[in-house]
């Protein structure tokens, strides 16, 4: 058994020059404006992003529905890394770096599959589903098999979502970070969901442009006719990209409508609440639930549902939830389906954008109208791909000058503050982790 190839250039050595470059860039940041060019274009920044930010966050690699049975696995690729995410047994999901401990070959070359063990196609070093080295022929007497298991990646399954953490040091406490989201995910039935559709939108742009695009709805009216058709215009301005994404006065104007809906939704059992993490938090989470366009029960072209009710719901309540676990992972949940957005940085100017459409685990194939279900977000994400790639193309100009944000892009400002903090703090973490970084 084995799994998928990776292209890719050589790693750039971190250096004094890179550190100086980062300091110079930081000095050019103008608060309330888009970031200086280097943050979107420089290889040195991307290397720092990988080691200090991306490698220090809990990232969602996928949903357990991809690996229901022991031995089921899929590859998750981030930066230059390939991870094998595998169900080791009924109750355990593991993630391993897809690198043989012998001479470094990728062990698994297929993107997904089912395996009894992982045998490297080169010299047949063989690893169990728990990553332990099972067999290695002809090794010297002092070879300690136990020290040559696959390098583990921190992993945590939370409501069916598989979180991984790339760093070698102890990650931020998971429950302290995400535990309060429990009732929402529970009500929406995310753990028991099944994947009804999956689609990739590879985007030729830096990951921060992908994230910044998702964290504001200022572009919704010009760019997303389908998306706008499903939402009350005033809600899009006020909360288009979650709490604190829109102008304060628009929020105030929409609040009475929101509160009235919250009361109705709560009466139907929906847990009500908001999360609006600030720039000082580790994961910059967001949670907001709000109304769909009047008359709409789901984000479909005609507003009619495309699947049965999800989770613990008893009735349609005409609302939707937007939950951001971090800038890298978003969940948008209607009553009948949810869309998981996974943004994965790969190279300085390339980001994987993968969407999972989730439906209730009990919903049969004949109960789900996939075409109607994906109509809105498939089109919207294709549009986002185009505008984000045009953004990247433009910031390459020597005459790009960071511009001021509108009041509808408040969340992007917060994201940038958060990002710059992570970059600073990450430097210290990397330095500390460096001391303990010598194999498993």
């Amino acid at each position: 058994m084995n799994c998928a190839n990776r292209g890719g250039e050589s790693p750039a050595p971190s250096s004094t020059a890179a550190a100086e470059r980062l300091r110079a860039l930081a000095a050019d940041v103008v608060p309330g404006h888009s970031l200086p060019q280097g943050y979107y274009c420089d290889q040195a920044v991307f290397e720092a992003d990988m080691s200090r930010v991306i490698g220090r966050k809990w990232l969602v690699a996928g949903h357990v529905d991809r690996i229901r049975n022991p031995g089921d696995y899929f590859l998750y690729e981030v930066g230059r890394e390939s991870l094998i995410v595998v169900r080791s047994d009924a109750s355990t999901v593991n993630a391993f770096f897809n690198v043989c401990r012998h001479r470094g070959s990728i062990v698994c070359t297929q993107a997904e599959g089912r395996a009894a063990r992982f045998t490297c196609g080169y010299h047949a070093w063989s690893y169990g589903l728990d990553g332990a080295l099972l067999a290695a022929r002809q090794m010297p007497a002092d070879f300690v098999r136990e020290r040559h298991g696959l390098h583990r990646c921190h992993v945590r399954v939370f409501h069916g979502l598989i979180f991984v953490y790339l760093g070698t040091e102890e990650p931020p406490d998971f429950d302290a970070t995400f535990g309060d989201l429990d009732p929402y995910l529970d009500f929406h039935g995310i753990a028991g969901a099944r994947i009804a559709h999956r689609e990739s939108y590879p985007t030729d742009a830096n990951w921060k442009l992908v994230v910044e695009n998702f964290l504001e709805c200022y572009h919704c009216v010009p760019s997303h006719p389908e998306f706008c058709s499903m939402h009350p215009p005033e809600a899009l301005v006020a909360f288009g990209a979650g709490p604190s994404s829109g102008p304060a006065d628009a929020e105030d104007a929409y609040l009475p409508t929101l509160r009235a809906w919250e009361a109705r939704a709560a009466a139907l059992g929906r847990p009500i609440g908001t999360v609006d993490d600030g720039a000082d938090t580790t994961h910059l989470r967001l949670l907001l639930q709000r109304t769909l366009r009047p008359g709409y029960e789901s984000e479909t072209q005609d507003g009619r549902p495309a699947a049965p009710l999800m989770g613990k719901r008893q009735a349609f309540d005409q609302g939707r939830m937007y939950l951001s676990f971090s800038p890298f992972t978003q969940l948008v949940a209607d009553n009948d389906f949810a869309v998981l957005f996974v943004f994965t940085p790969r190279r300085v100017d390339y980001t994987d954008v993968d969407l999972y459409w989730l439906v209730d685990g009990r919903a049969g194939a004949d109960q789900v109208d996939v075409a109607r279900m994906i109509w809105g977000w498939d089109r919207t994400t294709r549009q986002d791909k185009t505008i984000t790639e045009n953004n990247q193309a433009g910031v390459r100009s020597q005459r790009y000058t960071p511009g001021p944000y509108s009041s509808q892009e408040r969340r992007v400002v917060t994201f940038q503050e958060w990002y710059l903090k992570q970059l600073d703090q990450g430097a210290a973490t990397v330095a500390a982790a460096g001391n303990t970084r010598t194999g498993s």
Copy 2:
């Protein structure tokens, strides 16, 4: 409305290392020999070329015939920059950096078209044909719309040719630089010409190899049978690439023939004169008019014209003009058509080569035989593309050693002197401009 995508890698930061590299390369130059490898292959040199040389010259972006009506525009791409060249009104052509002042997206994604305004496809910031920001929703109270127009590029229309200057500082005085070319362009009717054909010959070579190829006719006999068939052999040796391009003795030998033709041509109204700028000038211009092969009235396969007489001519005079505005822009004018050559550096090893065939503006489509008109220069330029690309392939060798020039390549020697001076002087200009480089 919107316009065309650009590929491209991240900009390399200018650095002390780059400056040292340039100094070391300069020390390796051997006068009278081709340049050391680094000038054709190093990214650091290309960055310096962009900021010190290419960005400090009046470049021809095209001919006004592409934009006859208000709102007509086309994109001109140079290095990593994209310019929107637009007819703002009947009497005004503007050029803007194609970068939104909000978050840096390219504003225009189509290569050419007609627009009432330029609306960024991302957040709908909308710019007038004069570059002014017309609309930007939801901006904070202290936002000054007048300060967020598209960045302007210096532009000047001269006899229908649209010149742009990328630098932010005041460019060299246009009239002092090009004014003396007035009578020639006037006689040839370049201002009123129309584009009968346009063709691109993207060339995988450094721009200096493209220019050096054009500035000598030493390669004409081995490489260009069609071209040679249309010219007197002795003229090609003497003046194949303009004044001072051939051996002094060959010039002397051809001079009586040339003088006799000049007298006849002058009698038919043609202004006679020569421009032969030296290495100390800003644009290294060239102008020479000379005879075609005996019996030829135009550069066509059989020597017969392919279009009606251009400009102020009353009769065919069996001559042609070669006019170089700068190493980046050449104009070859026969009696019936003219060819504009635009060489645009894009990457260290890639250059756009675009040819415009111009005919008299009053010539109807049925009066122009496009196939016969392009026969010579289309084939010749395809040949030049091949030999220039082979040149680039060879100079990559570690064993490439700059070789000596022949007496028929005198103009290339002058070009190199000029180029090296520009590189030196440009360093000072860039440093000075740096102080004033903070947006419009």
Copy 3:
């Protein structure tokens, strides 16, 4: 006449940073383990490999059967270099850098052919088959034609194999280095062989991964079913990749079988002997002759020969020779055909792998069953391409940690010692050569 295009990026300037990078990498080497990531992935290492190791070895560019007649030539491309390998006359083979001494164009653009002279397609500088400049028009009076011949590459034909040496300094004495291989090559008839088949297996991996793959047979059982089917399993373990490639105890166990076969083979005229160069030698040669699978007369699917006996043989002896001239060139000779393996580094992550199947020069086309002859090594080399590319993909991970070698990979350990020594010693050679590096 002319010959083949090369792609390729700009050369990276050697620098203090590169030297520091190499020192830091050397400090990370753990003996008995695979090399640190940088050796397989860094551009700076590849540049050093080219100038210090690859450029300082006798490399096999091909077999004289490709150029039987005066004027026959082929291009051999290594790193960024292109060499013209040409039969100048009946008794002379030359190799020239494919770079015009005028302005550096590649002279020859076709991969192989026959020429009376080499005329550069740019300005028609014309070179004789001995590299001398024959014609260059319009050159100044002080131009010395004799100083502008094509740059020569050291060349030596040895038993039909064309060895080249890229460096400008005096290469290691050829006869002192390879002379003792004379009787083996003579017996096998390599000089008089003809090429029955040629195939390329371009491999997206660093050249050291290609070499390491070939220098061990630890991967044979998992990866090469066809290969294993033709060999006694105990021989593969003991000597799968030549002397000192397998575990010492396996060698002892197989030795009696080997000695008995050697006696029989010697009686049939085969010269017997072993070469097992250590890490201190210039070329790290290997020579071992051993048995095929019982009943097999050749490395074919059914063990029956695919061609007539080669060289001075009178009868099949059921043995085969493995001869490594250097890590870059291998020769595997059965009784009826031989396979020449040429590994040529091109870029840090790309290596040309070219195989030549040689048969006796007297064997007619109807006496050679090409399909049966190539069955084993064609499949095996395709497999090697895949596993080597997977190896490269894996070592790009930040979590790649050099792993320990098995007892069946002893020769890889020796190779690495040798390589690291060459890298160190090459630095001195390059520095010394630098003083004399000014033209031909």
